[in-house]
């Protein structure tokens, strides 16, 4: 009998990282199936197929890139290393947060660059600073805008998207504006069921919420990140909405449109690029939610979910450092720091939200004043 020495403990939980990634892959496949089916039925079979082919294209690009990387690095078992690097998840997410008119070429090149420069140069899985999928999609948005398939754009994305309509109104929306945009999409019911075109995986709120619950139940994603993110988006836009007279509708609208739900389930929960401690995770999610809304409301981009995550990724090491210490002995100090930073971020966002102005309404009121002045002059 051989008696081996191993340091304690010699008892392991069943759940493994590979298991976590497999469950995540199944959840992403569910979104793919829904999107392919919806595009297939709503437009034509070719569009359903296009969703699948875009997915295949990204996954092949991701896996191939990693295989070549491991080959160059002199890996002894390339298959094993690729299967432990989980690159396909990045590929799948890139497709689901992009729009259907993006060309295969753009998907392929962006995925390769995202895998190489977003992940492998940092040392591979677990070492990357930026969420590689967000990195890839940022590339598509900024570098491949012109490569979009014009035919697809005109057939599927011809109408104004909810985000661009709201953006045109400066987000300073009263009840009528929000109701108008929502009813253009077929009402909240239609939005929840995902019956409109937006980013490929982001439309069906119901599916995303079910998957979120399932992933939490399977202990694959950390509820603190998702739930804090959603709650912050909802509460901040609720208060902003109330200031402008739109209230709950404005809050629900902000939660449902764009990438908020998809990013909140699949991207903000990427453990590699988010803080490890619980206060850190909560702070991360609050800041990401505020940034999402700030970018959406005031920046030139229609949606902020993606870039808010990328920006927050940069701050992850700083947040980790902020929350260093014992959760028992330093609990109060850490909580105080987190509360102060969160409060500052929340107040700034609310102030910005409170002073949102509708550019059309503003120019109209300026015109009114001018006429009034003119009239006064006339009277005199």
């Amino acid at each position: 009998m051989k008696f081996t020495f191993k340091p304690s403990p010699n008892y392991r939980n069943e759940q493994s990282t590979t298991h976590i990634m497999h469950v995540l892959t199944i959840a992403l496949l569910c979104v793919f199936v829904f999107s392919a089916a919806w595009y297939g039925m709503r437009f034509s079979f070719a569009y359903g197929l296009r969703v699948i082919l875009m997915g295949v294209c990204a996954v092949v690009a991701a896996v191939l890139t990693e295989a070549i990387y491991f080959k160059i690095m002199g890996s002894k078992n390339i298959m094993k290393d690729v299967s432990r690097s989980y690159g396909w998840v990045t590929g799948m997410i890139i497709v689901l947060i992009t729009k259907i008119d993006v060309s295969y070429y753009a998907i392929f090149v962006s995925t390769v660059i995202a895998i190489v420069f977003g992940k492998l140069v940092f040392g591979g899985f677990g070492q990357n600073i930026f969420n590689p999928a967000a990195f890839g999609e940022a590339l598509i948005m900024n570098s491949f805008g012109a490569s979009a398939d014009a035919k697809v754009t005109s057939e599927v994305l011809s109408g104004a998207t909810p985000l661009t309509s709201m953006s045109a109104q400066g987000w300073a929306s009263n009840q009528t504006v929000v109701s108008g945009v929502v009813s253009d999409l077929g009402g909240f019911g239609s939005m929840i069921l995902g019956n409109y075109a937006t980013v490929i995986g982001g439309s069906c709120a119901l599916l995303l919420i079910i998957l979120c619950a399932w992933l939490i139940y399977m202990k694959v994603i950390d509820p603190r990140l998702s739930v804090t993110y959603f709650v912050t988006v909802f509460v901040v836009s609720l208060i902003t909405g109330l200031i402008h007279g739109a209230g709950v509708e404005f809050a629900i609208f902000n939660l449902l449109v764009g990438g908020v739900l998809f990013c909140g389930v699949f991207m903000i929960t990427d453990p590699v690029t988010t803080p490890v401690s619980i206060p850190g995770k909560i702070l991360f999610a609050i800041c990401a939610a505020c940034l999402t809304l700030l970018i959406r409301w005031k920046a030139s981009l229609p949606d902020g979910a993606l870039f808010s995550i990328l920006l927050m990724n940069m701050l992850t090491p700083a947040i980790d450092k902020l929350c260093d210490g014992s959760q028992i002995k330093d609990a109060k100090t850490i909580q105080r720091k987190v509360c102060i930073v969160s409060a500052v971020v929340l107040v700034i966002t609310l102030l910005v939200g409170g002073f949102l102005k509708n550019p059309e309404a503003e120019s109209a009121s300026v015109a009114n004043q001018e006429t009034a002045v003119v009239e006064t002059v006339n009277v005199e």
């Binding site: 008696f3 191993k6 304690s8 493994s16 590979t18 432990r84 899985f125 453990p271």
Partner: protein
């Protein structure tokens, strides 16, 4: 658990059904026993010579530095040698080798004692001279805890036994309820506590009933705690019972705790006048043919116990032999070590290679750490030998309970990384 902290514990599969309902094997009577002449890190001085005859209950050694602890012979026979080999704590120590004459001639070690009539001082003296020590694993002399029992609100007998596989305490309580009652009431008196209780996991329904019947009409309450690890650890248990955290000793939170086996041993000393001679030991694990509890003399060699319970499963040729349970017990690279008084288990597991992948920074080690530490951050700071950060992260608060390694989905030996960081700080002479 608040918004900003994790649960700081985890439910794990205890595999206790392997041994819980089986008869305890009591026939083991080795030809030689080897009594480790060590308690904690302190050597003990033998008070018998090679060649001396001893009986069951003869005092054979004592620890006499800042603490006092007598050690008694578990068998009758002849002292034949002093041998040096590895103990179950993986240190080299002298062992007193006693040849067993199998006659079990006993000598009553302590005179009849009535703890109810005795004064507090007499009782403390009795506990000290009876060689009582923490049988939960620490082996700390019991009387020391009771030297200054001021403002003790709650006295608790710890019958939680949260370590997986182990059922030795459970079996010991099951067979010795009346001794437990004597020992618990005596310790309760010694603690001068306002309230007393026995703490047990809520899933041990039958034993809870037995305990309730036994302690009916006494001031001792039976309190149940959830089946989670490490509920048996003093800090976690004190927090569960009182909601208080403490710095060094439970008495700061107004509590004194002792293991149930210790209480039973004291009951045995009071009722029968006998010291700790035998131990209930759980012999379990997936490498064994027939896991069960055994009742053996202190100083029995591990391989004799394993043979006695039927040995290894067919085809098993590489095992982890663990003194204790798989979470905190040490793997010993040979089977020649002996059962010390504080040992309560031998876990034998098939040696499987873990499939380690990169850390994904999920933070599970942080949410489950019962000491409230951040093992993943400690491991990183330890690798870069960053002394300041390690101290900021309170690395020395780690008790090596093993939960961070257990929970890690990437199968990284997190506890070992933290242990290395602790050793690094110790070498730097860092603050505790």
């Amino acid at each position: 658990m608040s918004l900003f902290t994790g649960p700081m514990h985890y439910h794990l599969n205890g595999h206790k059904d392997l041994t819980m309902d089986k008869e305890v094997l009591k026939s083991i009577d080795p030809d030689y026993v080897y009594i480790p002449l060590v308690n904690g890190n302190a050597p003990c001085t033998p008070c018998v010579q090679v060649g001396d005859e001893v009986k069951v209950g003869t005092k054979i050694a004592e620890r006499n530095d800042r603490f006092f602890l007598p050690i008694f012979s578990p068998v009758s026979g002849t002292v034949t040698a002093v041998e040096k080999f590895m103990t179950s704590s993986m240190t080299q120590a002298d062992h007193l080798k006693i040849q067993n004459d199998h006659k079990h001639t006993a000598v009553r070690a302590f005179a009849a004692f009535d703890y109810e009539k005795a004064t507090w001082e007499e009782l403390l003296e009795f506990v000290k001279n009876a060689g009582m020590l923490g049988l939960g694993g620490a082996g700390f002399p019991t009387y020391v805890k009771y030297l200054k029992p001021e403002n003790v609100d709650l006295f608790a007998v710890n019958a939680v036994e949260c370590e997986p596989y182990l059922t030795a305490d459970y079996k010991n309580i099951e067979e010795n309820l009346s001794l437990l009652k004597t020992g618990t009431l005596a310790l309760f008196k010694l603690s001068k506590a306002k309230k007393g209780c026995i703490v047990i996991k809520e899933d041990k329904k039958k034993q809870i009933e037995d305990l309730k019947k036994t302690f009916e009409g006494t001031p001792i309450e039976i309190r149940t705690v959830p089946n989670i690890y490490p509920m048996g650890w003093e800090r976690t248990l004190v927090y569960e019972l009182t909601g208080k955290r403490y710095n060094m000793l439970p008495i700061e939170a107004g509590m004194i705790l002792n293991n149930a086996s210790t209480a039973i041993a004291l009951g045995n000393a009071i009722d029968n006048g006998m010291p700790i001679t035998h131990k209930y030991v759980t012999v379990s694990g997936d490498a064994l043919k027939d896991p069960k509890n055994v009742y053996v003399p202190v100083g029995t060699k591990a391989h004799e116990i394993i043979e006695a319970v039927g040995g290894y499963k067919e085809g098993v040729d590489n095992v982890l032999l663990i003194a204790g349970g798989p979470m905190m017990g040490r793997t010993i690279p040979n089977d020649a070590f002996v059962i010390a008084p504080q040992n309560n288990g031998l876990t034998v597991l098939i040696n499987k290679e873990e499939d380690e992948v990169a850390c994904l920074r999920c933070g599970r080690c942080t949410t489950t750490c019962p000491s409230g530490l951040q093992p993943v951050r400690i491991a990183a700071a330890g690798k870069s030998k960053d002394e300041a950060t390690l101290n900021k992260l309170h690395v020395m608060d780690c008790i090596e309970c093993g939960l961070c390694t257990y929970i890690c989905p990437s199968k990284i030996a997190v506890t070992e990384n933290v242990r290395r960081a602790k050793n690094f700080i110790r070498l730097q002479g860092g603050k505790k």
